[in-house]
Symmetry: C2
Amino acid sequence: MPPASPEKQVFTKYLEENGLRQTRHRMLILDSFIANEGHRSIEDIHDNVRKADSRIGYTTIYRTMKLLSDAGLAREVDLGDGMTRYEHLYNHKHHDHMICTECGRSIEFFNAQIEALQDAASEKLGFRVQDHRLQIYGLCGSCRS
Amino acid sequence: MPPASPEKQVFTKYLEENGLRQTRHRMLILDSFIANEGHRSIEDIHDNVRKADSRIGYTTIYRTMKLLSDAGLAREVDLGDGMTRYEHLYNHKHHDHMICTECGRSIEFFNAQIEALQDAASEKLGFRVQDHRLQIYGLCGSCRS
DNA sequence: CTGTGTGCAAATGGTTTGCAAAAAC
DNA sequence: GTTTTTGCAAACCATTTGCACACAG
């Protein structure tokens, strides 16, 4: 048997520490989530997980994705399309998003200077930063022509 | 008669240009909106406008706030409390928000360097910026102690 | 008058919840 | 066997829409 993926180890540990059970459904959802990159909606994940077990319901996806977020494996992102999406957090650098208002595609980017300035600006206002989100809206390369 | 406020002039012009009518309800909503600063929900505005005319319904607030946004007088902000809020845009400098995860209060801030870096980072990725939103989550001065 | 604006109630759509049955331990 | 988890359906809640009536131009 191959060693469990680090994400699975993190999740298992999280479940144990919180007195939660390690169920087959939760593990299938984790499997599907780590096997697919991107900004995935509950519907996306549900469709994908159903290939492994067609009896898994929407509700369980909602509840499990919340657990994965708490466990630090997933991050909720709001791309402005009216539904919560989830992206990988484990071993993924923090980043922000540029969202094309024409085609809806989103580009991930990271800028260390912006990050540093945010911290500095916050500290100056007496604010202790926990997290932040930056979305830039505009036209992507293909749509601006 | 005092001259109409600049906001009223902008809105009137917007309505004319788009073949829309200048109704009493729309003007009352604009009055209420420009008379109160802050991040106001539909419910806030509705409660306030009803003091002037108790027959104005929720629906009209929704529809009119959308018009005010289109006219460039209001901006939708998402403070993560599950409802759309509106803030003034006319003669208000662009700014971003720090949101306290403890008390929910939000602080407005502006940092020219961050703005410039965003534009530069976008341009480098072939992105033409139209707008952007930055929310920093953390603990405000009163809550961090 | 003619056509737009409005209020009400009902519909919508993503998300949450109550509860009995199923699964984990 | 006891307790947690799950699926289903119903509830929720902010927002939108259909429609008959009210109002602006």
